[in-house]
Amino acid sequence: MSGLAAANSPARSWDNDAALSIVQEKKSLDGALMPILHALNDKFGYVDASVVPVIAEELNLSRAEVHGVLTFYHDFRKEPAGRHVIKICRAEACQSMAGRDLEEHVKRHLRIGMGETTPDKHFTVEAVYCLGLCACSPAMSIDGKLHGRVTPQRFDALMAEKRS
């Protein structure tokens, strides 16, 4: 299942041979670039810049085109994330249920801003614009697991579980 575990799988060290075999395995798909980037992101937790010329060569694209796609989409990471990835919904339905306060609480709790990783590489916090949980706002996902109606207290409890 390409791409789905991307945010959640712990980063493995980059392996050029494994990356090349992913590219070659998927290159015959129609519009292969997205599935390739998802598969790499999935496997390694990020897409290393060194793979750009490799993909360009295999798909007969320019490096600029590959770089353009890689950097256009929010999902593709340029470097590994922290061990746990917290995605907070910043969209309107969650705003209506004190989502902004929750976001501030999370940033204060972890002492980092949106899109940042704690110095110990334990936690990365990212914005997401809608998880489709708008009838049980505010919502977030932690390592891919969804949580609805999250209060600051509930968030603290979830963090305590992750730390233990």
């Binding site: 519009g31 999902d75 309107e92 339905a93 969650c94 705003q95 209506s96 614009y129 708008c134 009838a135």
Partner: protein, 521 residues
């Protein structure tokens, strides 16, 4: 004999602890030596009652909710497996709950009832009857039925579906495509997700009918990466449908081929715009294309393409099964059929409400939604996602149909309704609309790419009481430029929430600045 229990595997139910409830049930059943069969259904869409557990009794399915893992031992100790009426979580027959009983569920008729992984269950609940009829019809007759039903695109643009299909049917080409836009990015919407998680074969059914109608042999479903559960369930459904001959080289013995492939988005809101989605499917940046040419004539890989939203495709099997006249009988004016509305945000009874067009915003919010979740007075309602207008109480009697919403300078969009109580600051909401546009703009056209960033700055100045009147005029001018000059709906509709906030809630743009408030204290 094994007792059958249903616990939703719907993402929202999972976010509220459905997996933990299922796990507790398995553990308790083992300890008590009870023979239970647990089916993970979709959600009925009553999210204040999730996780809602249903037990099959001789008298029918009986619901309990919202259930926590801690409730499980108590439930099993009581007479719950026989439909115990005295339990505090007892809800009775789900279809008798007024919230459900007062709906007109055509598209969502099966959602929450069947096992979404079991094609036989879909068929047993009238599934594939639409496709069966379609296999015996000429493409043009299928297109005519869709046109006659009055179905309009449910993604937001409300373009007549039949006319789109007719254009593709009329194109000569060696290859045509059916593309489903399942990049449901609007805040306040979750109907696509629910149907893909609760009744995935319905989407396969609808897209296959579209393929037969226009002579396309290949379809793609573009699902946003935020919906991994929907992806997984659609993947299973496609495998089952292929195995049973509902997809593949010979669809239901018709001699016609149709194949489906799933693709994953990558977190770009703009890819919900149809031409941007096509670019993304082709493996490119999700940059909006100028129209014309229409995707119907030059779409995916330059070929004639039907691209529709999930909710448009899943309306089609009903039309082909029960007839265009049956579907058209619902609704009014030029808005025919039913609309799956999604009640979200600060609302007591949030969920999915499928009704014929014409119900008012107030009826949905008060009769179904039961008012705000916080209990504080309602102040604003955003309809149609991040590009939709904010409505004040005075406009809540607007009927939810395409024309009436447009007349009120709003839009129905994908049917999302987000309720805010009186703690909302509409100047902040207007700022967010511009901020969101700046984050998600594809960058192709100037009004959207630069206008959105300037919009944030101008609203900040208004909020800070810097040259307030002049900046309000500047903002109005900027909104006009974005409206008239943007290439697609992102830049072109971002002014909707901004202008409506200023029009209906001017006081929020006239407050003392934060600095002045601090000084006063």
């Amino acid at each position: 004999m094994s007792t059958v229990l249903y616990i939703p595997g719907d993402s929202a139910a999972l976010a509220l602890g459905a997996d933990e409830v299922a796990h507790a049930l398995k553990v308790e059943a083992l300890a008590r030596k009870l023979d239970l069969t647990i089916i993970r259904n979709g959600s009925r869409g009553l999210f204040w009652l999730e996780p809602m557990l249903e037990v099959v009794t001789p008298a029918g399915r009986i619901a309990y909710g919202p259930v926590t893992p801690g409730d499980v031992p108590g439930l099993l100790a009581d007479n719950f497996l026989h439909g115990d009426k005295n339990h505090p979580l007892y809800l009775g027959k789900p279809e008798e709950i007024p919230y459900l009983k007062n709906q007109e569920r055509l598209t969502f008729a099966r959602c929450g009832i069947i096992d979404p992984t079991d094609i036989e269950d879909y068929i047993a609940h009238d599934g594939y009857r639409g496709l069966k009829n379609a296999t015996g019809m000429q493409g043009a007759d299928i297109v005519d039925a869709v046109t006659e039903s009055g179905l309009r695109g449910r993604g937001g643009a409300s373009f007549p579906t039949g006319i789109k299909w007719k254009t593709v049917l009329g194109c000569e080409s060696d290859q045509k495509y059916i593309v489903c836009n399942a990049d449901e990015g609007d805040s306040g919407t979750f109907a696509d997700r629910m149907i893909m998680e609760g009744d995935p074969f319905l989407l396969v059914d609808g897209m296959t009918i579209a393929g037969l109608a226009v002579g396309a042999t290949k379809g793609f479903i573009y699902i946003r990466s935020e919906y991994p559960d929907a992806y997984r369930l659609m993947e299973q459904a496609i495998v089952s449908a292929n195995r049973k001959g509902y997809l593949g080289p010979n669809v239901m013995g018709s001699g016609k081929a149709f194949d489906l492939e799933l693709r994953l988005g990558a977190g770009a809101y703009i890819c919900g715009e149809e031409t941007s989605l096509l670019e993304s499917l082709e493996g490119k940046r999700g940059m909006v294309r100028a129209k014309p040419p229409l995707p119907a004539i030059k779409g995916l890989f330059g070929k004639p393409t039907v691209i529709n939203n999930v909710l448009s495709f899943v309306a089609v099997p009903t039309i082909l099964d029960k007839g265009a006249a049956f579907y058209k009988d619902f609704g009014l004016g030029r808005s025919r059929g039913t609309m799956p509305l999604q009640l979200a945000g600060n609302i007591r009874h949030g969920g999915l409400v499928e009704k014929a067009f014409g119900i008012t915003l107030r009826q949905v919010i008060e009769e179904f939604g039961g008012g705000t979740a916080s209990g504080k007075p309602l102040r604003a309602v955003q309809v149609g996602g991040p590009l939709g207008a904010y409505f004040p109480d005075a406009l809540l009697d607007t009927p939810l149909d395409y024309e009436a919403m447009a007349a009120a300078k709003g839009m129905l969009g994908h049917g999302g309704i987000v309720v805010f109580d009186d703690s909302v600051d509409l100047s902040l909401q207007a700022r967010f609309a511009m901020e969101f546009c700046a984050i998600e703009s594809c960058g192709k056209c100037t009004p959207c790419r630069i206008g959105s960033t300037r919009g944030v700055e101008v609203i900040d100045r208004i909020r800070n009481d810097e040259n307030r009147q002049k900046n309000i005029e500047l903002l109005a001018d900027l909104c006009d430029t974005m409206l008239d000059g943007s290439l697609c709906a992102l830049g072109g509709l971002t002014p909707f929430p901004v202008q409506s906030a200023i029009r209906h809630f001017p006081e929020d743009f006239n407050r003392p600045s934060a600095a002045k408030r601090a000084a006063a204290e």
